[in-house]
């Protein structure tokens, strides 16, 4: 849910794009970290982040709050920018810390040790693109289901349901083979 301060800033920015700066200042670090987690190169991250805000400014007139966080809308644009950057890549390597997968490990009943984390990494690598993205957004970026829904263009309940299904699939991949 947006706070009144953010709504006010949004209204001001819609009326005059030069007043977009407070929103930029407010979310720059969030978007920078979000992009960096994926591309893992600071200069490139800075460019993609700048591009994300430019696209947001250009599309601001079409943005309607509808009670959903503005940050999630920015994440959606950022994710698109990252996808555009990745479009010619066949394989990507994502570096993650134990802290970032802590929630997911708990959900899967795994210990935070090297063997278990390697298993988790291998299981996650078996997920298709859309499912892997969902897990990253929910557990590594820490998005709420409402935010997740907005980023993926689905409702909150659908986001919950989809996450539940992907977790089930991940559990199957993690189950020891007989």
């Amino acid at each position: 849910m947006e706070n009144p301060d953010e709504l006010h800033q949004l209204r001001e920015a819609k009326a005059d794009p030069a007043r977009f700066a407070p929103l930029y200042e407010r979310y720059f670090a969030d978007i920078f970290r979000f992009v960096l987690r994926r591309v893992q190169h600071r200069e490139l991250t800075a460019d993609l982040t700048q591009q994300t805000f430019l696209k947001a400014m250009l599309a601001l007139a079409t943005y309607e709050p509808r009670g959903l966080p503005f940050r999630a809308w920015l994440y959606r644009i950022a994710l698109n920018e990252v996808r555009m950057h990745w479009r010619k890549r066949k394989e990507i390597l994502i570096d993650v810390s134990y802290r970032e997968v802590k929630g997911l490990s708990e959900e899967m009943g795994l210990d935070l040790d090297e063997t278990e984390m390697q298993r988790l990494g291998r299981a996650m690598a078996r997920l298709d693109d859309d499912r892997a993205r969902l897990i990253e957004l929910r557990y590594m970026d820490g998005l709420s289901f409402a935010e997740l829904g907005q980023v993926l263009g689905i409702g909150e309940d659908a986001a919950k349901m989809r996450t539940h299904r992907v977790l089930g699939q991940l559990r199957t991949y993690l189950a020891p083979r007989r």
Partner: protein, 86 residues
């Protein structure tokens, strides 16, 4: 596209707030925005695509006007011409 995950205790080094702030540049953003929304300086006739479009429109207009003129002038057939001579 295939994803690979490397999960390590520390993960990649995270930038500090100060490091992130170095990349923050609202003035560049406003500049880029202004450039993106500004009308193109290049005149229409210098843009090859726009020029071709313009040429096409002129051609269509010319053809329509020619067709209208043809319809407006009554055609005299040779038989009609012979009768009028007598």
């Amino acid at each position: 596209m295939k994803r690979q995950y490397r999960i390590t205790p520390e993960g990649p080094e995270q930038p500090t707030e100060a490091e992130i702030a170095r990349y923050r540049d609202p003035q560049r953003l406003i500049y880029n925005y202004t450039r993106a929304v500004r009308r193109p300086r290049k005149p229409l006739y210098r843009d090859p695509k726009a020029f071709l479009l313009l040429l096409f429109i002129v051609l269509i207009a010319y053809l329509i006007s020619e067709e209208r003129q043809k319809q407006a002038v009554p055609t005299i057939t040779p038989t009609q011409q012979g009768t009028s001579d007598r």
